[in-house]
């Protein structure tokens, strides 16, 4: 039993470390930007806000929403990736690869072309993104699971890439034909946290909370399902409904991220593998760890994106692709024959 206790202790130690890096990164994140603001001023703005001070205004109105957006998107994408990987039993399960980001983008761009009276307001936008992402993923899933061998890694990746390309082509066509929509979504579309708005975060928060709650509730069932569908059914786990709830939650989580920050990829590919290893396999701990690590990773990526080039910002989604693509390559080189 000593070994078990020891393992459990290190598990929570890792989680503690991940959570503790977030305030540190957040402080760096808040103080970096076109104008560096000292850590002291940051703390001052947070504790004693002075509306006449310019740095305080910048912090509260521009940098704090961006920080919150990064935390939300990182946590959502990593949890969505973890759910997808568990449910599909596939280490390449990732919202971006499986077409969820492209589907959500298409849904949002299509909705932006509608007349003003029909525009989605409030939480309808993240929900719409989730529905778009979920619909495209459903199509990917259906095509990929056809055939005698069922769902394979190769088929899943190919279908995801193919349908994502189709959705992106449609998005480009709409944007070329409709100048107003292009203006409205231009910044958002490259996957950049610079476009995060307070209202966007407020609208996404309830959707994210509901999806995360659903993920936490089905976590024990997911543990049982790692033994295989038959064994899980024997243990009294409703496999089919768990799978549907889990996939819906994953679609909602990635839809939230897309609606806030645009299509940011690969967080869900990098984090869950590490999360599962360090958390010892239990899904509840893995979810918590993935959320913390995803938030920390996206914060770090955003800090690098804002500072690595003098006087210019790289879109956050590009930074995550620079790290994520090599991770994908190493997966492929190791696991695919």
């Amino acid at each position: 039993m000593r070994v078990g206790t020891h393992r459990r202790q290190t598990r929570w130690l890792w989680l503690f470390c991940a959570v503790m890096t977030i305030p540190l990164l957040a402080l760096v994140h808040l103080s970096t930007g076109p104008q560096t603001i000292t850590a002291g001023t940051v703390v001052e703005a947070l504790t004693a806000f002075d509306p006449r001070s310019f740095p305080h205004q910048v912090l509260m109105n521009i940098r704090l929403p961006r920080l919150l957006g990064a935390l939300m998107c990182g946590a959502s994408l990593a949890m969505a990736g973890l759910l997808l990987q568990s449910l599909l039993r596939n280490p390449l399960g990732e919202p971006h690869i499986l077409g969820m980001n492209a589907g959500a983008s298409l849904a949002i761009v299509v909705s932006a072309t509608l007349p003003a009276a029909l525009q989605p307001v409030g939480s309808a936008r993240p929900l719409l993104a989730a529905i778009g992402g979920g619909a495209l993923f459903l199509l990917v899933f259906l095509i990929a699971s056809a055939g005698r061998v069922g769902l394979t890694m190769t088929k899943l990746v190919f279908c995801g890439i193919a349908l994502s390309a189709l959705a992106s082509a449609l998005v480009s066509a709409i944007l070329i034909l409709d100048q107003d929509t292009l203006e409205a979504v231009r910044l958002w579309l490259v996957g950049d946290l610079a476009g995060v708005s307070r209202s966007g975060i407020g609208a996404a928060l309830p959707v994210m909370a509901a999806a995360a709650l659903a993920a936490v509730l089905i976590a024990p069932r997911l543990d049982a399902m790692t033994l295989g569908d038959t064994a899980a059914t024997g243990l009294g786990v409703p496999v089919r409904s768990t799978r549907i709830i889990g996939l819906c939650a994953a679609a909602a989580l990635s839809g939230v991220a897309v609606s806030v920050a645009g299509p940011i990829g690969f967080i869900g590919l990098i984090v869950p593998g590490v999360a599962r290893k360090l958390s010892g396999g239990a899904h509840l701990a893995a979810l918590a760890f993935a959320a913390a690590a995803g938030a920390a990773l996206l914060l770090a990526a955003d800090i690098v994106a804002r500072t690595v080039l003098p006087s210019r910002e790289i879109a956050t989604g590009i930074m995550t692709a620079l790290v994520g693509a090599p991770v994908f390559l190493s997966f492929v080189a190791r696991t695919i024959k």
Partner: protein, 350 residues
């Protein structure tokens, strides 16, 4: 070129080192397709904004160089280079796709999916940004170097040509390279990006007359190399041992059928930016409608590739006129539908 009647229903063409044999029915079908392509090229010349229809096209073609009249100069100066470039790039991409699919024995191989296109784009963009004054000729050369490097890296990671892994590695590399490309474009001076952005969009709208010779010379070289090795490629499909037994120099064949597609992809990318899915779709159409050996596959892929790009460009510039949809977008919509069908048909073996 001499034509030797050999077997019943077969035509044999000998032209220097190239010796190709075609089924008579297939040859007739191919000739019909070629005529259809020529007719659609004339139709493409006759459509578009501006007062220049079929009569003007025929007038121009019967007496080229008569560009004094404005309606004829529209055809000669604007539409003809664009149509010629569409044909050349389409044929190159179709040929490249066909050669790669035979080489990797995988119907999903495409210069775009293998990362060769992004490698070439990256090299060309770096050249355009670092040396804005470099001659146009330098672009395809830089593109070739970039494409070759990427293909070698993909090969080193995947360690095998004929596996699914090679294609997945190519996909991963192209993701990485497009992120690097985006970083370079972010870091570059704003006034230098303009040219690069126009080129990147993968549209034939910015066709430059001076690039036409480059495109056609690359097409001739790449197509020639592939035609010379077509018989050997046929034999290689029997398996490596059988091919060696038949006297095929496998190393040389592999080199030829990897370098010719890279040359042609790089040339197409430097001339018209990234046009996706042509190399994937054209060989399948050729296989479906023409069948036959590697020689027929190559010829058919070239014709279908040229037709696809021409059609996509014509649709893109006329459907929503005066707005233009880049050919690349139209091609993606056509290409993905076909990719989905291909995956469906191979659902039991992937």
């Amino acid at each position: 070129m001499k034509t030797v009647g050999e077997r019943k229903n077969h035509l044999r063409f000998e032209f220097g080192p190239v010796a190709l044999r075609f089924h008579r029915g297939r040859a007739v079908l191919f000739a019909c397709l070629a005529v259809a392509l020529a007719l659609s090229a004339i139709a493409a010349l006759a459509t578009g904004s501006g007062q220049a229809g079929l009569g003007e096209v025929l007038a121009y073609l019967s007496e080229p160089g008569r560009t004094a009249e404005p309606s004829l100069s529209v055809i000669g100066d604007l539409r003809l280079p664009r149509v010629a470039m569409a044909l050349a790039c389409g044929a190159m991409l179709g040929l490249a796709g066909a050669a790669l699919q035979t080489l990797t024995r995988n119907g999903l191989a495409d210069p775009g999916l293998l990362g060769v296109r992004e490698g070439a784009s990256l090299a060309v963009i770096s050249l355009m940004l670092a040396f804005p004054g470099a001659p146009l000729m330098a672009r395809p050369i830089a593109g070739m170097a970039g494409g070759l490097c990427v293909a070698l890296v993909a090969l080193a990671i995947a360690r095998s040509l004929s596996r699914m892994r090679f294609i997945l590695v190519g996909i991963g590399i192209s993701w990485f390279l497009s992120a690097v490309l985006a970083v370079i474009l972010t870091a570059a001076d704003v006034d230098r990006i303009q040219a690069a952005m126009i080129w990147m969009a993968g549209s034939l709208a910015g066709t430059q007359r001076e690039m036409l010779p480059i495109a056609f010379v690359s097409l001739a070289i790449g197509g020639g190399v592939l035609a010379v090795t077509a018989r050997a490629a046929d034999a290689s499909l029997l398996g490596e041992k059988a091919a060696i037994g038949l006297g095929v120099w496998m190393g040389g064949l592999r080199m030829a059928s990897l370098s010719a597609p890279i040359l042609m992809t790089a040339a197409a990318v430097s001339c018209a930016g990234s046009l996706g899915f042509v190399g994937l779709v054209a060989p399948h159409l050729a296989r479906l409608l023409l069948g036959g050996g590697q020689g027929m596959l190559l010829a058919g892929s070239a014709v279908f590739g040229a037709g696809l790009v021409l059609t996509a460009d014509t649709i893109g510039r006329t459907l929503f006129a005066p707005l233009q949809i880049p050919a690349g977008i139209v091609l993606a919509v056509i290409g993905v539908s076909l990719l989905a069908i291909l995956i469906w048909r191979r659902r039991n073996e992937m």
